[in-house]
Structure formats: structure tokens, C-alpha cells
């Protein structure tokens, strides 16, 4: 097992730059998730680590070795594909032993290792089955098993749960997490599903437009997003933003939005321009009848224990996540106000969050 480090990594396909000047360090035994919308460069980054794409520039370190230009077969990493890519002309056992055969292990060693991995993944009863007869979950386990038998330096997974149905995905998520705890392998996992990322990751890197915007622990990504994109992409629903048509200066602790005054955490940094954004998570807002921004209820979604209420105001639609006990009707007039001071100001020019007492 080893650390993975990428330095100034860049990948272009003709005129299109898929990955821009990225730097990352993935610690030994870490479960690291690359998260972003489709086309953000997360899969390309993973494929470069795997050796399936060669970087245009930059370096990739696996342990202490620079592997950027090595072939995939020389890197000693395992890759789990979204469509599993199990060899359909071989049965489960042969799929699992395929990588070991290349490395010249003795037949008895191969057998032992395959059976050990199969037991760990609870697929030992289907070792002689054909791939085509397996369920989605079993295929998933076989794909993991094929990665596992080699005991590689790192596991790379490209949306491995993407093709499973929702119920099964949750189960496999738990199994993956448990598997990671059991074998403690460095894992890089690509997904566009933030819930999957949040539940699996030790750390998450959020990517957009080929850039790594923030790499941190899930709770920091959620609570202290470094850019407006991260704030809106993470969370369901994402953060609410209001335009602030004034420059933010150091030590400022309130802003005016449409004539109303809002408290903000004491700012430690000034903004570059005079157009900025006030960001607040839906659960940090509350509804009442006498204070705050006026609006009317536009939609109500029930999420079991919580409720998301969309309020139409002069600032646009605002999502409020409230307790289930709050009862409002459609088109009812309500007022929205912050519940606490967990507010982030984003610089309108750079889209980056400004440091404050809340987010340092």
C-alpha cells in the first residue's frame, strides 16, 4: 500500500483541457473520493493514475516512484470499472485468477488467493458460475475480488456502484466501507453522487471544469466550502445564494441585501469587487410570520424527518430545510430568516469564500 501524489498534472485532448494543473496527495490507506459533475475531469484523473491515459504534463507518484509515463501493467494498481469489465468468456474463478496468472504464481498459490478473496467477498459459492448468470451485486463483488487478489499498491474505482439500483447501492456502499476497514488499502474512488462520497470518504476532492476546487474531509467540505461551486454542488439541496451589491471590508459584520440588514460572521478578509454573494445552507434558515425576507410558499417536499420548503422572494427562490412539524400551505405568505450565523460570503470575482470568524 502506498501514498499517491500528483503534481501539476495536466491532460489535454486536442484543444480541450480535461484536467488543469492539479495537485493532490492521497495518504496511505486513505479512502479518497474524487467528486464532481460529469465532464469535470475526475475520471480522466483516475485513468491517468491508472496508466490508461498518459498525462500531457505533470508527475504522478506511487509511493516514492514516479509512474506518470509507465504502462498500466507496470504500475501495480487495481482498477474497478463502472461496467465491471468482467471477462464474459471466463467463469468467476478464472476472472479472479486472470491477474495472478500473469504474475507467474504457482497454481496452488493462485487457488489459495482466489479462495481467500472469494471468502472475504462472500462469493466463494459462485466461483464456478458464468459471469452472465450473476446478479449485479455479485458481478460487483467479483470485480472487487479481481482487484483484491493482486494485493496492489492502490485501488482505483470508477463509479463502481453507478449501475446498481438504489437499494443495492446502499448495501454495497456499506460493504465497500467495511472492506476498506478490513484491508486498509489506499483507495481512489470516482463518483458524481455526493451521498456516496459523503458516506465512503475519508477525504473528498471536489472537481469542476478540470480543476480540483477543494480537497478535505467530508464535514469540512460541507460546512466550510472554499468556493461557490462546492457550496452549491454539495448538499441536497445546495446552498442558497443572494447577491450582495457592496464591497466587503475587513471586520465587517453585516450586509445590506435589498435594503434589509443581515448579520454575518465577522469578516477577516476583504472582497475584490463590489458584487459578492451571501451563502447560507437551507437548514440554517427558518420560517416565521414577523421577521426577515418576505415571500410566498412555492413548493413543499417531504423528506421523511425533514421538509424542504421553497419560498419565492424578491431575491429569487430560497430553499429552507425545516422540521416536519412546520405546516405551510402553497402560496401562503411567510418570512425567511437565518437561524444562526453560519453564513459564508463568496467573492463575486473569484467565486472563493472569504475568510471570516465562521470559516477560517
Amino acid at each position: 500500500m502506498s501514498q499517491i501524489k500528483i503534481v501539476n498534472l495536466q491532460k489535454s485532448f486536442g484543444d480541450f483541457t480535461a484536467v488543469k494543473n492539479s495537485n493532490l496527495t492521497i495518504n496511505d490507506k486513505e479512502f479518497f473520493v474524487l467528486l464532481g459533475p460529469s465532464g469535470c475531469g475526475k475520471t480522466t484523473t483516475l485513468r491517468m493514475i491508472a496508466g490508461l491515459e498518459l498525462p500531457t504534463s505533470g508527475e504522478i507518484y506511487l509511493g516514492d516512484e514516479e509512474v506518470g509515463m509507465l504502462r498500466a501493467s507496470e504500475r501495480d494498481i487495481a482498477f474497478v470499472f463502472q461496467l465491471f469489465a468482467l471477462y464474459p468468456h471466463m467463469n468467476v474463478r478464472n476472472n479472479l485468477s486472470f491477474p495472478l496468472k500473469m504474475q507467474g504464481y504457482k497454481k496452488s498459490d493462485i487457488k489459495n488467493r482466489v479462495e481467500e478473496a472469494a471468502k472475504l467477498l462472500r462469493i466463494d459459492h459462485i466461483l464456478n458460475s458464468n459471469i452472465s448468470s450473476l446478479s449485479g451485486g455479485d458481478r460487483q463483488r467479483v470485480a472487487l475480488g479481481r482487484a483484491l487478489v493482486r494485493r496492489p499498491k492502490a485501488f482505483l474505482m470508477d463509479e463502481p456502484l453507478g449501475t446498481l439500483d438504489a437499494e443495492f447501492r446502499e448495501l454495497m456502499c456499506l460493504e465497500l466501507k467495511k472492506l476498506h476497514l478490513d484491508i486498509g488499502a489506499t483507495t481512489v474512488y470516482v463518483t458524481h453522487d455526493q451521498l456516496e462520497a459523503m458516506s465512503l470518504a475519508d477525504r473528498i476532492a471536489v472537481m469542476d471544469g478540470g480543476e480540483i476546487l477543494q480537497a478535505d474531509e467530508p464535514n469540512i467540505i460541507y460546512n466550510k466550502p472554499k468556493t461557490k461551486f462546492v457550496a452549491s454542488f454539495i448538499g441536497s439541496p445546495g446552498m442558497n445564494f443572494f447577491e450582495v451589491n457592496e464591497g466587503i471590508s475587513k471586520d465587517q459584520s453585516f450586509v445590506n441585501i435589498e435594503g434589509a440588514k443581515f448579520d454575518i460572521p465577522k469578516q477577516l478578509e476583504e472582497s475584490k469587487g463590489s458584487k459578492n454573494f451571501f451563502g447560507i445552507r437551507p437548514e440554517n434558515l427558518t420560517l416565521n410570520n414577523n421577521e426577515g425576507l418576505k415571500g410566498s410558499v412555492f413548493g413543499v417536499e417531504y423528506l421523511g424527518s425533514r421538509k424542504i420548503i421553497t419560498v419565492k422572494t424578491s431575491l429569487g427562490e430560497i430553499k429552507v430545510k425545516t422540521d416536519i412539524s412546520i405546516n405551510v400551505k402553497l402560496n401562503e405568505n411567510v418570512q425567511v430568516k437565518p437561524l444562526n450565523n453560519n453564513i459564508i460570503i463568496f467573492d463575486g470575482q473569484t467565486d472563493k469564500s472569504l475568510n471570516s470568524e465562521f470559516i477560517k
Binding site: L52, S73, I77, L83, Y87, P99, S132
Partner: protein, 314 residues
């Protein structure tokens, strides 16, 4: 209303109709072939009798005549010979002839085998490699090259017979196995590349990527992962190539005479006494039919397996 079946499923009446039409069609197509097989088991007289005999006494005369050279002898000479050693000598003697040696048929037949299978193997092998490259790599001028390859099919091969005849004479490839294998491979290659490219395109590239991550080189991945999955396409391509090179007549007549002559130009030259030896020709064509038939039946399993293969891939 009958609701026991899906609306989209054909009714049992239309299924029976379809079966009946197919049976009639099969019988019509099989008549010439069965007549040929029957002729091969007739004797020289009943083969040309009029009205034609549908029921006849089977004889192996055709096969004996096919495999032997014979000469007619006087009754005195035949009487002076020791008694015949085996059944076919006896058969020949009853026609007042003696066997003077084996005929050329076996040699021509094995030429057909060598050239047919050799060129089929070469076409499929080279075609698979080229198809894989066209399917996976960024080849400069890919579309133009593919069109160029296809364009060799746009004229009948025999249109280039004269230039090839002259080239082959200069190169010393005329009347050689190698020459014929190269020629048939060239003709079949365009078909092989195009057919196999279609099949390779259907195979997700993740399979090779998985194999390469598992420690295999691209070539090893090609042989161990891509080729087995392209089996359907390979079987279909092999059948087409085999049928062409097995049946090819015009080039074989033109370019081969002794050493590498194949069965198609040889069979019509089997001439008996006082006319064509129809039972021998029937025997030759019947035997000629067998290899392609067996080859197709063997590969048919792959064709059928391939159909269900793709359906459950994802």
C-alpha cells in the same frame, strides 16, 4: 379472444405456415444436391439412363473411378491376370478395365484444403489485427484507408486476372500453394477487415483496459480478452472467406495447372470413356461439398452462442 399469448407473438397458424414454406423451400434447394449425391452412388449406365432412375441399385463405381486411373484391356489379357485382390479391382475388371494407378483427385483435393484453410486463416488473422487497430487506435486517414480497402471489392476479382497472371509469372508464384494463398487472402482481406471491425467496435474497450491493468501487454490483452469475445465475428468471417476460396474457379483455372491446382478446375475434367463420367463427377462434387459443410456446422455453434452473448453483456 385468445389471450394466452402475447399480442406480438405470431399465432400458431402463422407459425405453421412459416414452417411449411420453409420446408417447401428447403426441399426445392436440396433437390439438386440430393440428385448430385444420388448420381455419385449410381453406376455409369444408370446415371445416364432415360427416364432418370430415382430408385437404383447403389454402386461405388463413381468413387472408384474418381480415385483411380484405368485403361481398357482385351478379354484375353484380363483372363491372363491373377484374380482381383479386392472389391474395387473386381468392379473395374467387370468393366473390362484395369487400374493403372491412383488419380490426381486426392492431390487436387488436398491442394484445395491447404489453400482454402491457409488463406482463411491468413485473412482472419490479418483482418482481426487490422480491424482491431482501426477500431481502437487513432490511425491517420482512417476513413480513407478503410474506403481504400473496401474499394478492392468494387470490381470482380477476375478483372485483374491478366495483370496478376503476368505478375505471378515474374515472381514465380504461378502454380504454387503460396501464390494461391496470397491471392485468396488479398481478395478476402477487405471483407475480413470490415466485418471484424464492426464486431471489435462492439466490444467495450474496458475489457482490454482491465487486462492491461491486470498486468498484460496490449497484444496479450488482444489475444486473451478481445479475440475470444470477437469469436462470433471471427466465425462468420472465416465461413465467408472459406466459402470464397474453396469455391474459387476462375483464378484457379488461370494460375494453376499441375502443382497447386485445386479441386474446382479439376473436377469438370474427369472424363470417362465416350463422354463425361457422371458418377465420378458426382462423387467428386459430393466430397468437395463436405469440408465447407463440416466447417460451417462446427463454427455455427459460435455463431449461435454469439447471439446470446451480446444480449446479456450489460
Amino acid at each position: 379472444m385468445d389471450t394466452s399469448r402475447s399480442y406480438l407473438e405470431p399465432s400458431s397458424f402463422s407459425k405453421k405456415m412459416a414452417a411449411a414454406i420453409i420446408i417447401v423451400y428447403a426441399v426445392i434447394t436440396l433437390i439438386p444436391i440430393s440428385w448430385m449425391v444420388m448420381t455419385s452412388f449410381k453406376n455409369v449406365d444408370s446415371a445416364i439412363s432415360y427416364p432418370p432412375e430415382v430408385l437404383f441399385e447403389p454402386s461405388l463405381e463413381g468413387y472408384v473411378n474418381l480415385f483411380t486411373n484405368r485403361s481398357r484391356q482385351s478379354q484375353e489379357y484380363l483372363d491372363s491376370l491373377p484374380p482381383p485382390e479386392n472389391w474395387y479391382e473386381e468392379l473395374v475388371r467387370s468393366r473390362e478395365m484395369v487400374i493403372t494407378g491412383p488419380s490426381k483427385f486426392l492431390g487436387r483435393y488436398s491442394n484445395s484444403m491447404i489453400i482454402g484453410f491457409g488463406s482463411t486463416f491468413a485473412s482472419v488473422f490479418l483482418g482481426a489485427l487490422a480491424a482491431y487497430a482501426f477500431s481502437r487506435f487513432r490511425v491517420p486517414l482512417k476513413d480513407d484507408l478503410l474506403f481504400f480497402i473496401l474499394s478492392t471489392r468494387m470490381f470482380p476479382p477476375i478483372a485483374v486476372a491478366v495483370p496478376i497472371f503476368i505478375m505471378y509469372r515474374k515472381l514465380g508464384l504461378g502454380d504454387t500453394h503460396l501464390g494461391m494463398i496470397i491471392l485468396y487472402t488479398v481478395v478476402n482481406l477487405s471483407l475480413a477487415v470490415w466485418l471484424l471491425k464492426g464486431f471489435m467496435d462492439e466490444i467495450p474497450k474496458e475489457y482490454e483496459e482491465a487486462a492491461m491493468i491486470d498486468g498484460y501487454s496490449r497484444l496479450q490483452a488482444f489475444f486473451k480478452v478481445v479475440l475470444p469475445q470477437a469469436m462470433t465475428g471471427i466465425a462468420a468471417t472465416a465461413i465467408f472467406c472459406m466459402i470464397f476460396s474453396w469455391n474459387e474457379y476462375a483464378f484457379a483455372v488461370l494460375l494453376t495447372q499441375f502443382n497447386a491446382q485445386t479441386a474446382p478446375p479439376f473436377i469438370p475434367t474427369i472424363i470417362g470413356e465416350g463422354g463425361l463420367d457422371w458418377p465420378a463427377i458426382g462423387a467428386g462434387t459430393t466430397l468437395f461439398l463436405l469440408p465447407v459443410m463440416i466447417f460451417t456446422i462446427i463454427l455455427r455453434k459460435h455463431l449461435l452462442r454469439g447471439i446470446t452473448f451480446g444480449a446479456v453483456r450489460k
